[in-house]
């Protein structure tokens, strides 16, 4: 399965292997490869997961999307994203590979 060590200074995106189903508390995420079910326990976290790909880093995404934008909240969302990375819900976006013939 595709889990990766979470580095918030790099770019991340929601895995294509994930089904995300909105629920009153946030969303259910289902990983079709590992068949793990993961609860995203706030709507803001769902917005963040969906919005990651539009920002150059996870840190930048948190700053842009999450309110309030204080340190404590920022850290909490870094922790949440780290566990989502471990579960394969989000994946690092590979930098463009340059051809070095």
């Amino acid at each position: 399965m595709s889990t990766a060590t979470f580095d918030p200074s790099t770019k991340w995106e929601r895995s294509a292997k994930i089904g995300l189903r909105p629920e009153p508390f946030g969303a259910l995420a289902y990983h079709f490869d590992t068949r793990r079910l993961v609860f995203l326990k706030s709507p803001a976290l769902v917005d963040l997961v969906d919005g990651l790909v539009e920002h150059e880093s996870a840190d930048a995404a948190i700053t842009a999307i999450i309110e309030p934008a204080d340190d404590r909240s920022h850290r909490a969302h870094v922790t949440a994203l780290a566990s989502l990375a471990e579960a394969g819900v989000i994946e690092p976006v590979s930098p463009a590979i340059s051809f070095v013939g």
Partner: protein, 398 residues
């Protein structure tokens, strides 16, 4: 390979919770009790037809019901589940492979990104079927085996059933299917064999699944002979704690009182999910609160009704009622109530215990007298449907 954590049974799928504690939110379990927009775990019994006649069959299966969903209706149900983003469905029966359109239903589900796990006795998994399954994505197979040896198994599932299940496992292994499941209903006759089972699963590269016996369907009649004794409840609680990789469908949460003093809780959710996060669609399209309460009192509607499955799930009076906070009732004075939540609704119902009373298998023994009294008084509810094949005196067993 990907099947490593494949299809954990219903509630034990919850392996990780990502929580950003930015605001006070109720615990997840409390939110789940209020219900979800669609079930997490949906069991769909495709047919009441079965080549076996297991003594604890939850659905009293045997004969096909003439009102069973047609192929077109079944495929339409798949479409509806896909639209609801039901991520996977547990197909069962009866023996689901008896349906001639079984593969069409599976293929349609997988094609619409609804994962499939199906429960089977294995009779029809020959080498060709095993190879076909191995080549199908998003498919998981669960083979039932209720005794490590043929004698123990066949006493419950019928002559020849052990051999057929083992043959199916051999075929799946030979076809390189990957990690299928070996599923055991824990009884007083096989609970001592759990280590042997685990070894068998490991040898096959399979995953072991052990679930609780319910007094449902034909289990109403066999429950007293098969249910675990109190010492065996202790044994299995310890065994599950020691084997966190074994799947349980979170079906033993009623035993959590046993961990009260040591602060131990069995893995998974400790709650009844009936009508909240799980439900059952039966072969004729009736929707029940869970796979263990196929009885008129717990029937919420039918997928053929206007609005289909979604309306039943979201709007039926029964399911709305089940999502209301429950009262502790007779268990209110028990200091373990927060550990077990009073146990399994279906098990209480079919043993004649009030739904706010203790689970019949209450590990602290609080239901022992009531179970015996209800059985003696003959007030145990009988299943409201029975598709068992008639017993012909003098004929050989199937």
């Amino acid at each position: 390979m990907t099947a490593i954590q494949s299809t954990h049974t219903p509630l034990s799928l919850i392996s990780k919770s990502a929580s950003a504690k930015t605001q006070a939110v109720p615990p997840l379990v409390e939110q789940l009790k209020g219900g979800l927009d669609a079930p997490i775990c949906l069991t769909w019994e495709l047919t009441y037809a079965c080549n076996l006649a297991c003594v604890h069959c939850l659905s009293s299966s045997g004969r096909r019901d003439p009102k069973e969903l047609s192929t077109a209706e079944a495929l339409a149900v798949v479409d509806e589940l896909a639209d609801l983003q039901v991520f996977y469905v547990n197909l069962g029966g009866g023996e689901p492979m008896i349906r001639k359109d079984f593969l069409d239903i599976v293929d349609h589900a997988v094609g619409r990104n609804v994962g499939v796990k199906f429960s089977t006795n294995g009779y029809y998994i020959d080498q060709a079927a095993a190879e076909r399954f191995a080549a199908t994505d998003l498919l998981d197979i669960q083979i039932s085996l209720d005794g490590f040896d043929a004698a123990t198994n066949d006493a419950v599932r019928g002559p020849g059933s052990w051999e057929a299940a083992r043959r199916a496992m051999d075929n799946l292994a030979a076809a390189d299917f990957g990690e299928f499941k070996i599923s055991i209903v824990a009884t007083r006759h096989n609970v001592a064999q759990l280590d042997d089972y685990k070894q068998m699963a490991d040898d096959y590269g399979a995953q072991l699944r052990v679930t609780r016996l319910r007094p449902s369907g034909r289990g109403v009649d066999s429950y007293q002979d098969l249910r675990l004794t109190h010492p065996q409840q202790q044994d299995i609680f310890r065994w599950i704690m020691d084997h966190p990789d074994v799947l349980t469908g979170d079906s033993f949460f009623h035993l959590n009182a046993l961990g009260k003093e040591t602060g131990e809780t069995l893995p998974g959710l400790s709650m009844c999910g009936a009508g909240r996060i799980v439900c059952l669609i039966d072969p004729i399209g009736d929707v029940y609160a869970c796979p263990f309460v196929i009885h008129d009192e717990f029937m919420a509607g039918n997928v053929r009704d206007t609005g289909g499955f979604a309306s039943v799930w979201r709007e039926s009076d029964l399911f709305r009622e089940l999502r209301e906070p429950g009262a502790a009732g007779a268990c209110a004075s028990c200091n373990a109530y927060d550990a077990c939540g009073g146990g399994c609704m279906a098990a209480k119902f079919f043993t004649g215990i009030p739904l706010d009373g203790p689970d019949p298998d209450c590990a602290l023994g609080h239901a022992d007298e009531a179970v015996a009294a209800a059985a003696a008084a003959g007030v145990v509810p009988q299943p409201s449907q029975d598709h068992s094949r008639p017993v012909r005196l003098g004929s050989k067993p199937a």
